[in-house]
Amino acid sequence: MALAIVRLRHLFAVVMLSGIYSLLSAGIFVQLDAVDVAFTEAAVGAGITTILMLGTLALTTDIERPPVQRQWLPLVVVLATGAALIYGTLDLPLLGDPNAPANLHVAPRYIEESGQEVGVPNIVTSVLASYRGYDTLGEVTVIFTAGVGVLVLLGGTRRRRQGKDRT
């Protein structure tokens, strides 16, 4: 799917494919037990992002110009980086290993104690909102800033233009 996106130059098809790709990755997340994440990915990736991309295409153009320069340099860089990363994965824990370092640090405490301490069955919610509430505050601030940024970039000129009309 991703490889098709690399080749296609018709951007409308690219956007549709990336929506489907999002939905597929939501399926992967369900398979990996991350129901909350899958839910978000399906709603955000397949829904909102696709609409935004289409909105942008409507404002710009939907055909990509054929590339002029040869693409061997990026390809070499990508292959080298990919090979290095694959070499790095050989030391990583196997998929589903309960003794992987990531699963032994603070996670057991969250799983065992959050039932009594927070009293919310969904551990993801209790970690998100309570144990790591400060992080989530930061995330919401980032979203707030992005929203303000879009307003400044796209909404600001509209008002200025109206102001000019009035004078």
Partner: protein, 117 residues
């Protein structure tokens, strides 16, 4: 059922490199954002696959289960997805402004029009 193995990382690497290749080799800015999204999703899959525990269930407490997957990466990625769409929207807004200023969304045409870049 999911077999143990390293193949999840290889899928992540392939997806990541596909996104990386798009970002580097394509001049079209919308395509670059799509490439970044693919790259981003590959990182999400990496984190979520790290949190998977064999024979465990989703981290919602219930009497019937005792083994749960690691909830912490889920939290990180959950917020990262929403932040990701907000930042993509910001990038797309910038593209719209670039299109209005230069009349094109191809990177080299923008550079050709503006000698200061």
């Amino acid at each position: 059922m999911i077999e143990p193995g390293l193949y999840n990382y290889w899928i992540v690497v392939i997806l990541m490199m596909a996104g990386f290749f798009i970002v580097m080799s394509h001049g079209n800015l919308v395509k670059k954002i799509v490439g970044l999204n693919i790259f981003q999703t590959s990182v999400f899959i990496l984190y979520i696959s790290l949190s998977k525990v064999s024979d465990a269930t989703a981290p919602i407490l219930d009497e019937a289960y005792s083994e749960y997957s690691n909830p912490l990466p889920h939290v990180l990625i959950l917020t990262a997805i929403v932040v990701g769409v907000a930042t993509s929207a910001l990038g797309l807004a910038l593209i719209v402004r670039i299109r209005e200023a230069y009349g094109t969304v191809e990177e080299d045409e923008v550079i050709a029009q503006d000698p200061d870049l």
